[in-house]
Amino acid sequence: MISKWIGKRVVMGIIVLFIVSFLSFFIMHAAPGDPATAFYGGNAQTLNAAEKERISRVFSLDRPVIVQYGAWLWETVQGNFGYSSKEGRPVSVILFERLPNTLLLFSVTMFFIIVGSIWLGTVAGMKAGSMWDKGLSTISIASSSIPPFWLGILFISFFSVKLGILPSSGTEDVGGDGGLMDKIRHLIMPAAVIILTHVGIYARFLQESIKTESNKYYVLVARANGVAKREIQKGILRNASIPYLNYIGMTIPSFFGGAVIVESLFSWAGLGQLMVKAVMTKDFPLIMGGILSIGLLVVSSLLIIDLVMYGVDPKLRKGAYSK
């Protein structure tokens, strides 16, 4: 049963990746500019017409876009992402250099967002009408209204420029030992910006789910029959976690979108910063590799969330939603 369910999700994920790559490929080629010049990556002024034609012929840029996409897809499914037109190195090598940093930033921020929002949302949701309840509504609006890049600049000017206690950019000190502490010092500000701009809204969603669940009929019946408060709260939390997990799943793609901005701001050498650079230099193979990698991260994250939901929600396990 579960293997069939996972199989379905994986197939859906592959279809999503295929659609994303297809759209990205065509949108990139629809962008203004000469593909040969973009592919050359250097100073376009130095290319003459013959050289442009030669580049187009050698790299098949003169063929229809659909044929180019087919060729790219064929190579990609065999694990060949091509070469960066800017750096001349294999795209896969560049991606693997960047992937650990993005994974580190993503896992650390997601961990603190989930732990923080569960704590805040539960306390506020379970104490309806309390100061926690009212306070969280205000805090969540404030935190989700702050633009990450603005908060990032504020952090840099305060913690790096004024106090000088945290590095303003990079993933490790130049000439440093590259150890754990060095990494953590560089991670603090970008991670804090992402956490602070997300935790409030996630907590608020859980708070509302708990309040909705607390008013359900079965809670009234349990209360009327003297079921222990702890037992009732456990049931409420379990059920409230289902829409909460759904919400996390729905916001994962935009979460990655926000992380791209923060990576660029703090020059965090991750996939997001790489993507921004690749777009600026029109490095098509690298852009496609980056999009596919981020797409894969999103799809994998959603699969993990789906698996957790499968464990939490018996209706999903029993196929009750499809009946």
Binding site: L220, G226, V227, R238
Partner: protein, 249 residues
């Protein structure tokens, strides 16, 4: 067993039950009857101190000499846990959809009495069998069972707990005629075999005449008549009661 006097319930300043008074005698089935909005369910919510936010109850509701309306939260938890069992109208939504029936039936019955899970299983298996429910339902979730099965599960818990007072709030309104009849028989059995006092809230006069000994008639938040079912059916004293009785097919 239960004496309600001058019970008034206000929601956000608006009076929904006014100065109502009635008694529930031990070992009897007393029915509160009235149309929708007459304040029947709100009265029960006040007795169980589970009124919605913004609602306030005043007056007296003496249960075995203790006024439920001014009982502390701890006292009320203890009373609800050990002396009163309540069956609600909507059986399909009376259970947590994400928790298996065994766990929920245990918290509603064996857990209340401090029984071990093993003791609960033995006793509940017998009760389920009596109620023509398979023991397999213990391994199922509420959404896998019908409304009728879930209502019988609640009855099983009531039989298990054998409370001093069983409150049944419109328990048959979501059941079909066959299940309604079965349910009424179960209530009678509970009353006759275990001597359980029952407070039955309904708007169905057929149910009242079939099962209740005494009745309380409510209209627009007020108790307009109380007495034995036989007497009131024979000679209704209030015009509203008369109209209710005349409305029967």
């Amino acid at each position: 067993m239960l004496n309600v006097d001058r019970l008034t319930i206000e929601i956000d300043g608006k009076c929904v039950v006014e100065e109502s008074a009635f008694s529930v005698r031990p070992g009897k089935i007393t029915s509160i009857i009235g149309e929708s909005g007459s304040g029947k369910s709100m009265t029960i919510a006040a007795l169980l101190t589970i009124l919605p936010l913004g609602a306030k109850a005043t007056g007296h509701a003496l249960f075995n000499g203790r006024n439920l309306l001014d009982a502390s939260k701890k006292e009320m938890d203890a009373i609800r846990k050990t002396h009163i069992f309540t069956i609600f109208q909507d059986a399909a939504n009376s259970f947590n959809p994400s928790v298996k029936m065994e766990r929920q039936l245990y918290t509603f019955s064996g857990g209340r009495r401090g029984d071990t899970v093993q003791q609960f299983r033995t006793k509940m298996t017998g009760l389920l069998d009596e109620l023509e429910l398979s023991v397999d339902i213990l391994k199922q979730y509420p959404f896998e069972l019908s409304g009728g099965m879930l209502q019988r599960c609640m009855i099983a818990c009531a039989l298990y707990v054998a409370p001093d007072l069983l409150i049944a709030d419109e328990p048959t309104s979501s059941l079909d005629r066959v299940l309604q009849k079965e349910f009424i028989e179960l209530l009678k059995r509970l009353n006759e075999e275990q001597g359980t006092t029952i407070l039955l809230i309904t708007h169905d006069l057929d149910v009242v005449v079939e099962v209740a000994h005494e009745m309380v008639v409510m209209q627009a938040g007020k108790v307009v008549e109380t007495g034995s079912v036989a007497t009131i059916f024979k000679q209704p004293g209030h015009p509203y009661t008369k109209r209710l009785l005349d409305s029967r097919f």
